[in-house]
């Protein structure tokens, strides 16, 4: 009988067999949740509250000094430099098996996924551990101690804003999922390539820091500072005037997008996650078609594969940007709306919870499984030689029964729904500052509701196609 039920899906997407209702019904339910949330916000949320972070210091001055003072900064920075150095060493000298080498899991799972999850709760936890910031500051301090007069820094072009970080973000994801794509052909991002990329990026970052200044480059061009810093705007801890304090969660995000290129960073984040999720699912057939065309045009299989994936990755970026642009243009039609450029900037931060939701939905299970490897066999045998067992956990494997496929699906749906409701809340709050008349503010947000419903349904479609 199961064969009969599977027949209508026999040639394409396979319906998830372990769900009590079809996966697409979750998209309908999520849309209803968003619509209900929208009307609840319209009725009950009549004045903006996120514009004020409601920041208050945490503990006494000694507490902040202990956590943020030079000794703590130096210690955290040294840990960051040490771990990056070790990951590079493992990549260069360890096994070429990606799953047995410390480097790939540490850089692309523990750090790349772990810092956004942590930052979204606790604020910018990456900043003190940033190895390039620490190295740059240490170099500056050493030069100053040696009495060497440094050449004056270049003024960072304000128009560039965060664009270098947005492009860099796409480049990092490209390295991971396009350059390292297998797709049946053995391309694969090997630990050695990953280590070389980390060395190249380190040289580039330190050069940019020398040119423009450490803090300036971290705020605008350093990919990881900008990317993790974006998620930290949602967190409830923040630093102000050198003091650690509590703040209203989400509130810091309201001022984040003021720098040019910030919208591109958050769009790149959503697009790259979408592409990674759809590469082996929803877009698989289309990517294969383009791959075949490129092959017929005379390109080699590796080049064809990378080029076809690159095209789809850029299409994802263009698609996400287009949906956001349509939302902004819709808002522009409401009387009293500011310019398009101002609207684009004003609402870019509302996409941050969506970027986080996409990240959780797509990678939460990978994170849970790979972190077991990180803290067991990869920690005991980081080079993957098979001869080392530093902590006696080299033989421990990953327990895949820790999460059932149903649990993963429900976490994915919950993450997407919560992320979009939070995005809607931030957008409604911002609309109240632009249109003081609540009726007009609500009307402007019809368009953001459409954007949120589109992103939710698109995200669930990608997940259902990918999980199928």
């Amino acid at each position: 009988m199961n064969v009969v039920l599977a027949l209508p899906f026999g040639h394409a997407l396979v319906a998830r067999q372990d769900l009590p209702i079809p996966a697409w019904l979750f998209a309908w339910a999520a849309s209803i949740v968003l619509i209900v949330s929208f009307f609840a916000l319209s009725a009950a949320w009549r004045r903006p509250i996120f514009e004020d972070q409601h920041w208050r210091p945490l503990g006494g001055a000694g507490f902040s000094r202990a956590l943020l003072g030079p000794p703590a900064q130096a210690l955290c920075g040294a840990i960051g430099v040490l771990l990056l150095g070790f990951a590079i060493y493992a990549g260069l000298h360890g096994t070429e098996a990606p799953d047995r080498n410390f480097a790939l899991t540490f850089l692309f799972v523990t750090c790349w996924l772990g810092f956004p999850f942590l930052a979204a709760i606790f604020g910018d936890v990456f900043r003190p551990f940033n190895p390039w910031r620490a190295a740059g500051r240490a170099c500056g301090a050493a030069l100053a101690a040696a009495g060497v007069e440094r050449p004056s820094k270049l003024a960072y072009p304000q128009r560039l804003g965060r664009w270098p970080a947005a492009i860099g973000l796409l480049a990092v994801v490209w390295l991971e999922v396009v350059y390292g794509a297998s797709g049946g052909i053995a391309v694969g991002l090997d630990p050695h390539s990953c280590a070389v990329a980390a060395c190249v990026y380190s040289a580039y970052t330190l050069a940019m820091m020398a040119l423009f200044g450490v803090e300036e480059w971290c705020a605008t061009g350093e990919i990881f500072s900008v990317y993790f810093g974006m998620f930290s705007q949602l967190g409830f801890l923040g630093v102000r005037d050198g003091k650690l304090g509590r703040r209203r969660p989400l509130a810091a995000a309201t001022s984040w997008a003021a720098i040019p290129g910030s919208a591109a960073v958050v769009i790149a984040s959503i697009a790259s996650t979408s592409f990674d999720g759809s590469q082996e699912g929803a877009f698989k057939g289309a990517i294969e078609k383009v791959f075949e065309w490129l092959g017929e045009a005379g390109l080699g299989p590796t080049t064809s594969l990378r080029l076809s994936n690159t095209i789809f990755m850029l299409l994802c970026f263009a698609g996400v940007a287009l949906v956001y642009e349509l939302g902004v243009r819709g808002m522009r039609s409401i009387p009293g709306a500011p310019s398009l450029a101002r609207l684009r900037t004003a609402f870019a931060h509302t996409l941050i919870p969506i970027a986080l939701a996409y990240l959780i939905a797509h990678y939460f299970s990978l994170f849970v499984f790979q972190e077991q490897a990180q803290f067991t066999y990869l920690l005991s045998d980081p080079l993957g030689t098979g001869h080392t067992d530093l902590f006696g956990t080299a033989e421990v494997g990953i327990d895949f029964s820790l999460l059932s496929s149903q649990t993963i699906w429900y976490v994915q749906v919950a993450a997407l729904v919560c992320g979009h409701v939070l995005g809607l809340t931030l957008a409604h709050d911002r609309a109240l500052t632009i249109w003081p008349d609540p009726r007009r503010a609500t009307r402007s947000q019809y368009w953001m509701l459409a954007v949120m419903v589109a992103f939710t349904c698109f995200g669930l479609y990608l997940l259902s196609a990918g999980n199928g």
Partner: protein, 53 residues
């Protein structure tokens, strides 16, 4: 019986290709709702303006 049902379903064997439609429908409904309510609001505003002396 199973074979009969299977045979009846063969013509719709490609329906899986069209599952994405179910994900697009809520978006279309919301956009249609926006157009409808925007038109209604514009009409109301026009009528209010006309009523003003």
């Amino acid at each position: 019986m199973t074979a009969l049902v299977a045979a009846a379903l063969v013509p719709v064997a490609h329906i899986g290709h069209w599952l994405w439609v179910f994900y697009v429908l809520p978006v279309i409904i919301v956009i249609a709702g926006i157009f409808w309510s925007t038109r209604a609001a514009n009409r109301r505003e026009r009528e209010e303006e006309e009523k003003r002396p």
